[in-house]
Symmetry: C2
Subunit: 354 residues, 2 copies
């Protein structure tokens, strides 16, 4: 394997207060960087002090959107053990995304070794307060400098780390969401199924507009403005009388790791989880009829984020009177307890650092 | 206006041979960079030696696809005069794109002054051989370092320059194109109407696959795999017996400057140019019936690129026996003659450097 060199910082930063972490505001002392060039393979893999990346102004990430990332977490369990949550899932998804974006994915050992060495170097940064964790951001960018649209022959793979608290300023309070009929996040044949920066570029304006109208997240609909796809940067679940529904992966929805974990957990409890197409019309009908009991988003950052209100075509529709429902609470507690090591891990989700 | 500082290189490069320029392979000695921060405005505007950009690894361009560019040209006319082709068009399109991507567009004077000072500094790089020009790449990227999806509060605006020859290795020979039914470039409500890096990210894989099958470019269809949108990184025109058709701007098509110039030119000649929806089915029908006489792509890089073959659902369909048609030639000659100053400029497309 490509050798990983380590240069530790001479100026370690002060740790931020663990009750004021927020999300993605603080970065640790180090980062992992490795480079790839066609014909040469991976080279210059290193742990080094967190510092700017120097890129040719013609690099394809600046012009042709060759940017892909992952989002995962490490935890400091009560026993003191440092663990990762499903790192292999994130590695696999990175590889799928790299193929779609014509970027080079790092070999698995390089990914895992870089990850472990980096987290070891920044171990003191892993917080242990309630709802805190170390957010991990593996990223692939096209770094070759050229113009004239084609895939870059060079890729940079890097990992940065951020100690985080709750994703939402509001904490776990149910969020108000806006069903979006003007802007589109992704379409079949596009990039929606991979974690490409491109998808987020398209989403920013709608999210900003929703926030200005008082909604924390956008409920993304499909090209026909009917099929429900995702909520903000999360997958979405609807708890109904007879079934729990999450949109089937249709090519424009990102297959979230948390989505997979929630499905696995619900199945293990013999709860009626169904992956199928679900439209905004159906959801509104089932709110009206009282059949919709709960709705929530799922993602690495917030784990479970209950939905209190859906705005659709001029009206606000309350879900579970705007309160967090029992299933949302149960799933959140279950997954976070496994992450923190206070419950057993029957699903093999946990990988130890050492 | 923000003051522009100039630092000239101490190590000017050798000029590349003007008959081997290709496209986007060589960069000039200098670049223009200006920075923006919310609350502070534009600052640190400078002409400096072409060199890597140093960005926080958490910069939003690496994660959330905040990247937008323009493509335009300067020419060395036979009289020795240096001119730009429609720079105001590109400035306006950059502003529209910036609004869509939640990036800050530079003020017009900063754009124009930066452009002129940079081209002046690199004047010796402007080639004058046949079909050569100076390609200009203004670019906007989100540079703030943070994680958690939202627009960057900081923008970097930069311009780089590349002396170019013909866009296609083949020169002006008609290209073979592949009507794409799997991958999508853009969809309504997305970013197709702006020059976001995100659109190109989505297009790379299809373009690569087409090239491997022997087709130079992809013919992009709409979400229904019917409406014709663009060809590669160009707009597209179909010359029929009774009309010349280019797809109407529908929200997912980029409004090319060359497209606008071609429409203006055709109108001035009282030729029946129509902007309307046109499907791949109609095009194939009109090839069969003999009504389709010519087809060509238009863009800054190639100006006019004749289409010789369309591949659709397993069949190659010849257009004009695979030869360049008379209207393609006429338009190419007209526009390039105005650019080179060998014909008068009735449309006011030309802006002098000095
Ligand atoms: C668009 C989008 N959908 C869904 C998710 C959820 O994926 P995961 O559960 O793997 O974090 C994310 C990432 O958090 C996302 O960015
Ligand atoms: C996707 C796309 N469509 C069309 C065009 C043509 O635009 P213009 O004529 O302004 O160069 C371009 C840029 O060259 C492009 O990238």
């Amino acid at each position: 394997m490509t050798k990983i060199n380590t240069t530790l910082t001479k100026n370690p930063k002060n740790l931020p207060p663990s009750d004021k972490l927020g999300f993605g505001q603080y970065f640790t002392d180090h980062m992992f960087v490795a480079k790839y060039r066609e014909g040469q393979g991976w080279y210059d893999a290193e742990i080094l002090p967190y510092s700017p990346l120097a890129l040719d102004p013609a690099a394809s990430v600046f012009h042709y959107g060759q940017a892909l990332f992952e989002g995962m977490k490490a935890f400091r369990q009560d026993s003191g053990e440092i663990v990762f949550f499903r790192p292999e899932f994130n590695y696999d998804r990175l590889c799928e995304g790299a193929a779609r974006l014509c970027l080079e994915a790092p070999p698995k050992e390089l990914f895992m070794e870089g990850l472990k060495k980096l987290v070891e170097a920044d171990e003191r940064w892993i917080p242990n307060g309630p709802n805190t964790s170390l957010y991990i951001r593996p990223t692939l960018i096209g770094s070759e400098g050229f113009l004239g649209v084609r895939p870059s022959h060079e890729t940079i793979f890097f990992i940065i780390l951020s100690p985080v608290g709750s994703y939402y300023a509001e904490g776990a309070k149910p969020v108000r969401i806006w069903a979006e009929e003007t802007y589109l996040r992704a379409a079949p044949g596009g990039l929606g199924a991979v974690k490409a920066g491109a998808n987020y570029a398209s989403s920013l304006k709608a999210a900003l507009a929703a926030r200005q109208k008082g909604y924390a997240q956008v409920l993304w609909l499909d090209v026909e403005h009917q099929g429900i796809e995702e909520v903000g940067t999360m997958n979405v679940f609807f708890v109904m009388d007879k079934e729990i529904v999450t949109p089937a992966l249709n090519g424009s929805i990102l297959a979230g790791g948390t989505r997979g974990s929630v499905i696995q957990y619900l199945k293990s409890k013999n709860l009626p989880i169904v992956e199928r197409k679900i439209t905004i019309t159906e959801v509104i009908e089932k709110i009206k009829s009282g059949e919709l009991k709960e709705a929530f988003g799922t993602g690495t950052a917030a784990v479970v984020s209950p939905i209190g209100v859906i705005h659709y075509q001029g009206k606000d529709w309350d879900i579970n009177k705007g309160e967090t429902g029992p299933l949302s609470t149960q799933i959140f507690t279950e997954i976070t307890s496994i992450q923190r090591g206070t419950k057993a891990d029957p699903f093999n989700w946990i990988t130890k650092l050492k």
